[in-house]
């Protein structure tokens, strides 16, 4: 269970990322975070994996109370999560394969498991052919899919995805979305910030809309809801 209680985030330069956000995401839910550019979606996700800390309020994920955790304890939490970063964050000195396998090595997976699982995940995101390419040898969309593969390879309990389809063509984006749905169906909780209106409207999942750092809408079977 993910729980935010009166969470505010004010950045060092005085800008507000989030203001007094309270919400709960239960195990097994699939949640879209929507809202205009600069609304605070990424801020919320960063608070969940502890890259930022709230200025006030509480963030709790299962047994982890984030504001009480030291830098040394954070890895324990992060191993429960699969994170897709908005700016991808691949390791530049590693190939596609190594970027994904690194996430498994981090959690101490056995060599056998790694060699079994990594090609499988790369196949899922359609990158088998690029397994030995380095990040700077990939197209933008390919990089993004490596980030998705890395997030999913450990079959995490929680998936936090920050605009995972921003650089993908609609068809590939739909494929990737199906992948997240499948993962969710198998029990993972998914929180996804996205601008993909069509996909959100189509899937009829819970939608949390954020504007200027505040939750303005929270619908169980929601739609993207901004009509251009």
């Amino acid at each position: 269970m993910i729980r935010l209680e009166g969470v505010s985030k004010r950045y060092a330069n005085g800008h507000h990322g989030l203001m007094d956000v309270t919400l709960t995401v239960n195990r097994g839910e699939f949640v879209f975070l929507v809202g205009p550019s600069g609304a605070g979606k990424s801020t919320l996700i960063r608070l969940l994996y502890g890259e930022d800390r709230p200025t006030s309020g509480q963030v709790v994920i299962d047994q982890f109370r984030l504001q009480k955790m030291t830098w040394r304890q954070l890895p324990r939490l992060r191993r429960q999560l699969g994170i897709v970063f908005q700016d991808v964050k691949l390791l530049p000195a590693r190939t596609v394969y190594q970027n994904v396998s690194f996430a498994m090595e981090v959690v101490g997976a056995s060599r056998k498991e790694v060699t079994r699982r990594v090609p499988q995940v790369l196949e899922l995101v359609g990158l088998s052919r690029q397994r030995d390419s380095f990040p700077d040898q990939l197209s933008g969309g390919e990089q993004q899919r490596v980030g998705i593969a890395r997030a999913l390879v450990n079959q995490p309990i929680y998936v936090l995805a920050d605009e995972p389809t921003g650089n993908l063509d609609p068809e590939t984006a739909a494929d990737i979305m199906r992948l997240f749905l499948e993962i969710n169906r198998r029990g993972a909780t998914v929180v996804m910030a996205t601008h993909a209106r069509d996909l959100v409207n189509q899937l009829q999942k819970r939608v949390i809309a954020i504007e200027s750092g505040q939750v303005v809408r929270d619908e169980v079977k929601g739609a993207y809801g901004y009509d251009a």
Binding site: L74, P75, I83, K89, A93, R94, V106, R150
Partner: protein, 295 residues
């Protein structure tokens, strides 16, 4: 550490070093150069100490025996003095030998020697070498108490100056050596920090995907150790080669000044470069990483 994670460690460090060959070369060469400078200084300082030791082998005291003392009494005192713990070496000379030496030192004062040859006004005596310079006064006093001793002559002004100087130089050597070691250490630390700095993003990404601090640190530490080790090795190789060359050249051009043995120099310099490179390299990585792990 399991076999698996040892493999990871080695692979990671190797990747770090080979991915940016150019940067690895820059770090290693900086380490090598600064260690080389340190090693050169250590070698020079070893030689200064060597010369100081040699200088101490020069006569330190000249003890003259009263005229008309019998040779057997003189030999008796010689035997006695040889057992004094603060006397390293003691040698007897007769007044004839003294005259010969004077002649050798002032070969052109023929007239003088004509006089000496007729009736030698010089004395028998001993050349005394002590274990260290501070023992000279006590030994001198002990000799002067002996009834057969006419007088005790300390070494001349020049030699005492040189000894005093060499002491200062030796001390200064230690101080400069320590300073230089510190300087080298700082350069190595800075170099590795700069190298790590350019990979800060990578480190942060590792943290964000759940790596523990030690999981991230170990490869960097190993990398630092390797950089230090290779730097130290390169410095040491150049020192060994050039020291060999210098000492053979010196044997020809300054035969009277024997350089300290290769063996001694290599041992001393590699002590410094080893600690300076290997240890500092590893520690520097740890220091350099710290700021980037807080994410």
């Amino acid at each position: 550490m399991t076999r698996n994670s040892l493999g990871y460690l080695v692979r990671e460090a190797g990747r770090g070093l080979t991915r940016n060959v150019w940067m690895a070369v820059a770090s290693i060469s900086t380490v090598a150069i600064s260690l080389f400078v340190l090693a050169v200084f250590v070698a020079v300082s070893a030689n200064v100490n060597h010369v100081t030791t040699l200088l101490q082998n020069e006569v330190e005291l000249r003890v003259f025996v009263k005229p008309h003392t019998s040779r057997s009494v003189e030999m008796n005192l010689l035997k006695q003095a040889r057992n004094w713990p603060d006397v390293r070496k003691v040698e007897f000379f007769s007044k004839h030998e003294a005259a010969q030496q004077l002649k050798k030192e002032f070969p052109h004062q023929q007239a003088l020697f004509a006089v000496i040859a007729k009736s030698n006004p010089l004395f028998d005596g001993y050349d005394v070498y002590t274990g260290s310079a501070n023992e000279i006064p006590q030994v001198a006093q002990r000799f002067s108490k002996e009834p057969i001793i006419h007088n005790v002559v300390y070494e001349g002004n020049v030699v005492s100056r040189i000894t005093r100087l060499s002491h200062i130089v030796r001390w200064a050597g230690w101080i400069v050596e320590a300073l230089l070691a510190l300087a080298t250490m700082l350069i190595i630390v800075n170099t590795i920090r700069l190298a790590v700095f350019s990979r800060r993003r990578e480190i942060q990404v590792m943290r964000l995907v759940g790596a523990t601090n030690w999981f991230i640190r170990w490869p960097f530490v190993l990398e630092g150790l390797v950089i230090g080790f290779l730097g130290a090795g390169a410095a040491e190789a150049v020192v060994a080669a050039s020291y060999g060359w210098v000492s053979s050249a010196a044997a020809v051009s300054v035969p009277f000044w024997p350089l300290a043995g290769m063996h001694l120099v290599i041992v001393r310099t590699s002590l410094f470069t080893g600690i300076g490179g290997f240890m500092v390299g590893g520690v520097a990585s740890l220091i350099a990483l710290r700021r980037f792990l807080r994410v």
